[in-house]
């Protein structure tokens, strides 16, 4: 007979052990999946996790780790703040898109003027765009009690249509021979989010991600607001009696996560992606949810989780071209990771005992 008993205190050991355990289990089950697809599981796992960092072409893939990791960390940090307080922003993908549209829009409005002020203005516009898009569910939640999960998600689909409209209409490259998509910002020096140190993948988005991590860490550890977030998540009623204003918290958490997602989108469109196009968004906003949980909603954990997730993206690309592993297999792999994380969380808050059940 197996019994599950609540622990008086969450286990500190398990809090660190479960993410590692989840990754190991995902590798085992992912390997089984790859084997079922007719690929050598060990080779596939090695290609995904080893090749990008230590393989023959690692010099090419290592910078990618920062390029792919930065938006994931930036978005996940914001989401984690809300998740801790029980405020569920799952529309980061939409805020990411709107941030990119606003950032690119400001940049393109100045084309072809050159000035050092253009890039900071774009950063501001991107942040504001993401913030404003997240304020829609926030204000509706505070004012009308509307479910923020559904509204933020619906707005992802609206943002995707807006993106399509922009790349076919307003922001379309007038010299693009009728192809959809904006001008390439990489060829517009004032608006280009170039690498700060060439060949490292280190662009301004990475800097922003690091600042966000430090900011979130300080906020959660030392600031009163961080305390309010933690209390609200763990005991909403106690937080209310403690004088926490839940409405203001919703506005802050959704606003911050939208702002960071908008920044991520803006840095992406001005740098690695280069242009607004219909398929600009690749799901970072959704993968960031996995990153936030894998990092245990802890800023430092999120950095590690973001890099690991970036690794699966890069390794997945390599496995796709070298082994013919379908792109969707990596998506399943990432989904599995979230499953194992959530299931293993049981071990943090409960202990599993073997033996006969006591008669109550």
């Amino acid at each position: 007979m197996i019994r599950i008993e609540a622990r008086p205190q969450p286990s500190a050991v398990m809090a660190y052990a479960t993410p590692v355990l989840a990754v190991v289990l995902t590798m085992i089950f992912g390997g089984a999946l790859f084997a079922a697809l007719g690929k050598d599981p060990l080779q596939a796992i090695a290609t995904i996790f080893w090749e990008p960092i230590f393989g023959e072409f690692a010099f090419f893939y290592r910078p990618q780790l920062l390029i792919k990791g930065a938006p994931l960390v930036l978005i996940a940090i914001g989401l984690a703040l809300g998740f801790r307080a029980g405020i569920w922003n799952i529309g980061a993908e939409g805020q990411y898109i709107v941030g990119a549209i606003c950032g690119a829009g400001v940049g393109l409005a100045f084309y072809p003027t050159e000035s050092v002020l253009i890039f900071p203005l774009m950063v501001l516009a991107g942040a504001l765009g993401g913030w404003a898009w997240a304020m829609i569910p926030a204000v509706l939640k505070v004012r009308f009690g509307t479910n923020e999960i559904l509204v933020s998600l619906m707005l992802v689909y609206v943002a995707e249509q807006l993106l399509a409209s922009m790349s076919l209409g307003l922001l379309k490259n007038p010299e693009g021979f009728g192809f959809p998509g904006s001008r390439n910002l990489q060829q517009y020096p004032s608006a280009h989010n170039a690498e700060i140190i060439a060949g490292t993948g280190m662009h301004w988005g990475v800097v922003a991600a690091l600042i966000a991590v430090i900011f979130a860490y300080v906020l959660l550890t030392w600031h009163r607001l961080g305390f309010a977030i933690r209390v609200t998540g763990e005991a909403p009623r106690a937080a209310k009696f403690g004088g926490v204003n839940p409405g203001r918290l919703v506005l802050f958490c959704l606003g911050t996560s939208g702002l960071l997602a908008g920044l991520a989108g803006m840095f992406e469109v001005a740098g690695p992606a280069g242009q607004i196009s219909i398929d600009f968004n690749v799901g970072y906003g959704f993968t960031a949810i996995i990153v936030a949980f894998l990092g245990r909603l802890n800023p430092l954990g999120i950095v590690a989780a973001g890099l690991l997730m970036a690794l699966t993206y890069i390794g997945g690309d390599i496995a796709q071209s070298q082994l013919g592993l379908p792109a969707a297999a990596i998506q399943v792999f990432q989904g599995m990771l979230l499953f194992f994380l959530l299931a293993l969380d049981l071990l943090t808050n409960y202990c599993v005992r073997f033996g006969r059940a006591e008669v109550a």
């Binding site: 509307t146 619906m154 989904g335 499953f339 299931a343």
Partner: protein
Amino acid sequence: MDLSSINPILLIAAMIAAATPILLAAIGELVVERAGVLNLGVEGMMITGAVCGFIIAVNTGSPTVGFLAAAVGGAVLSLLFAFLTQVALANQVASGLALTLFGLGLSSLMGQSYVGIKPPRAEATPLGPLADIPVIGPIIFGHDLMVYLGLGIVAGTWAVLKFTRMGLILRAVGENHDAAHALGYKVKRIRTLAILFGGACAGLGGAYISLIRVPQWTEGMTAGVGWIALALVVFASWKPWRVLLGAYLFGGITQLQLNLQGAGVAIPVEYLAMSPYIVTIIVLVILSADKSRAPGSLGRTFHASG
């Protein structure tokens, strides 16, 4: 612009068909939520049902077998959610999101070699001369079996919840799981069964999109219908007949904007395509003032020793 190209009778008939996938998914989720569980994985279960149904229907040549497979596929995926939330006591919001992310990946993996294939056609229900009645015929009697099955499930759900002991127990578990447990009901078992029912319904809804509405397989083809279904349950204040009303409303808007796109209205296609999502948000805002109808234990984890 040529609005006269829209035939109102065909439009209403198409609206009913467009509402069916939303209706199926929403009525399943309604039962799950009445049992006190919030499963945000509807989108994932729908798309899994869509791909399972499509693959089986193509391989067997029978849409009926395809629909059965879709129900099984959706239910199997929901079993994962049941395990996470009922056995591993994981957070329901996070688990539901995980289910959606996983289902989207799994479905595109399963469906890769089926892109561009035409599924076997589902026959219209042989209601004989009824379908030939002018106006009413094509609107009410010209549909495939799944439309009527959807209506049947709504009626059945309403009757079971309202009149049977089973429905009473289910509602008790949803309203107050501690009290239900004290009365000796198996809270987790009942919830798991409700989750399975929700999964099967979502699977059917997904397969309706891939086998009848579109009909072909493309990645991510459910495009948020699962999330609209979730919103619909709130809209319906957890009442079966209002789910039907809501589904027809949303199905109607979806179909109407498609017809307007076809008729070449001066509004850009992208803005028309946004409309179902924006309307969902507006309706949610109007209706979210009244939360009194929500099941008391909705979204809360149950653990007997705690």
